[in-house]
Symmetry: C2
Subunit: 360 residues, 2 copies
């Protein structure tokens, strides 16, 4: 991951990153291609965009925004969930599958409405386990005000899948006049983070039992559609939103910088991390900036509206620790830098590899 | 599978079947729960409907039909594809994933528009294989006039999945005034089948190489949205449509009988099966009536419009062998019977178990 560099090194990298197209050199698919970082971007650009390329897909947001013949706009999104273990402190693959797709729709500016559910089940899964996951999905849908309206079940032989994978797709309605786009982002805009970093990824890691750590924290899995609406009401000129899932906040701000060709300057002192999560990360040598969240999102808002956005978030469950974590700047274009607590500056690169596979 | 019974036995079963609610006795999920037959129905009723129950889901069609605030209606559907092998004569998991979801939308009366794609990939899948599948998806989408607009990729470790699973969800627009429902079906209506039975399931079986048979036929995987529109234009009072995938035509007509509480009388002599497919089925002791199709659907049309529906289908690629295979009757309520070539009658029951796992 990122390490401190001199200013000359930073300047050199700026040029390199800007000119770089993600390349795909591997002959086989690796875990890194599913990790949400650099390899994922290369796979998407070189395999999926190349074959499927169309205007809706090319936007590459969390959801496609689609125009109906009558002018109404829909958001449409999908995610597959392969988290291991399927139950972990604070939630399950069922919660994730519903909340994750709701969140992709919400950060696209849509009001989530309908969810589909596709199950791939390994033969032998206890029926009680399936019932529990399905109940988690139903509860999550009710909590967020969406309906699960269509589904499909496939069963594969023992050993052909790992317990259960769930795909959800979702449809949301985009209110008239609402527009969120990285093209609206301007230097001086503030980067707001809705909640503390890293709880989901670390909760899953600990639930695997590979580590001899006892820690008192749970996944942040939750639907953020209510939080998003609060931000949009308090900060009506909000530019762009993204949920900080795979690859964490570090990946989201890198995508922002790359999309806008502007710089993102993070203030290390402001980055919210629960102390127990931070402790677990430190023991494992993992930077919480790259750890997956399932209930936190990044909002870019005009400077003048940032305090209102933060206040609105803090008044709601799941937003209590919202804060401004950085600012958009002219320099360095296309890159993210961190002002460290010691007064230095380092480049925050995109994630390479996959330190935490199957966390969602 | 179904065997000949006396009229007394038939009468007894009528009462039993009518009073039966599908029960779920198994403690673990089995392959049969994913096969589209009796066990699938029990799992759906007892696990998914119980937890997710809402008006849109309860309709239990191939797709949910959803009302937008402005009166426009959408169809929304999903399917996961786990076919093994991932490439087979006539197609691949990529073709299936696009065509299958298009077909679910089409038989719901919708014009398919947008598709999502969620990949769960086993680490080590050759990149060239992935590229080929993705290209098959792109080609299928272009052929059917839909766009793949959003997607997701997860990668799991070697052994945690079998090469690649693909989920697609799809959105279609339902034209104003169009209504298809089993509630519209009346005694005397004709059962039209758009194409010959069993080619897909048998092509996948043979591609597995478990059988020492050489056969000259390919999967019927295709998008049927054009065929569906032709039927609806030629037979505007078409009552109900369903694609005959998992569980085959036998399962579809059983669902029709159960939904309507009417009888379905099939004429064995008219059931279209390509001779090479029929030969392979005979060697394997499999009834083509229960074998999955990926490009054939059942349409229930009023008697007077049946000839026009058949003529319209026969004029299009994939519909050349369309024919009337049976009739809706008052008796026996809720059951399907077959008039055999020898003048007898036998009950055509729902599929029990899964003779052909992972054919889609």
């Amino acid at each position: 991951m990122a390490r401190p560099r001199t200013q000359e090194e930073v300047n050199e990298r700026i040029e390199r990153v800007r000119r770089r197209r993600p390349r795909l050199l591997e002959q086989v698919v690796t875990l890194a291609h599913g990790a949400g970082g650099k390899s994922s971007a290369a796979l998407t650009a070189n395999v999926f965009l190349e074959a499927f390329g169309n205007p809706a897909l090319d936007a590459l947001g969390d959801a496609a925004v689609l125009d109906l013949p009558d002018g109404q706009r829909l958001a449409f999104s999908t995610d597959s969930y392969v988290v291991n273990p399927i139950q972990f402190p604070g939630g399950s693959i069922g919660d994730l599958a519903v909340n994750g797709t709701i969140n992709d729709l919400a950060v696209s500016g849509a009001i989530p409405q309908w969810i589909s559910a596709g199950f791939v089940i390994e033969e032998g899964l206890p029926m009680e386990t399936l019932r529990a996951l399905v109940q988690d999905m139903a509860n999550a849908a009710v909590a967020a005000g969406v309906q699960i309206v269509t589904g499909d079940t496939k069963v594969v032989a023992k050993g052909a899948a790992d317990q259960v994978f769930i795909n959800t797709a979702g449809i949301g309605l985009v209110p008239a006049g609402r527009r969120l786009s990285s093209a609206l982002v301007r230097p001086g805009d503030r980067i707001v983070l809705s909640g503390p970093m890293g709880a989901h990824g670390m909760a899953v890691m600990l639930a695997r039992g590979d580590l001899d750590i006892e820690a008192d924290f749970v996944s942040d899995t939750r639907a953020v559609n209510g939080l998003v609406e609060a931000v949009l009401a308090a900060a009506p000129d909000t530019r762009w939103l993204r949920d900080a899932t795979r690859g964490g906040v570090g990946t989201v701000v890198n995508e922002l910088a790359a999309d806008t060709d502007l710089g993102v300057v993070l203030d290390e002192d402001t980055l919210p991390v629960e102390s127990a999560v931070g402790g677990a990360c430190e023991l494992l040598g993992i930077d919480p900036l790259y750890v997956a969240n399932e209930g936190a999102f990044v909002a870019v808002v005009p400077e003048a509206q940032a305090p209102a956005a933060v206040t609105a978030l803090r008044s709601l469950p799941g937003g209590e620790q919202a804060c401004v974590i950085g600012v958009v700047a002219d320099d360095p274009p296309g890159l993210v830098v961190m002002q460290t607590r010691f007064g230095g500056t380092r480049v925050v690169d995109m994630l390479v590899g996959d330190p935490l596979p199957r966390i969602c």
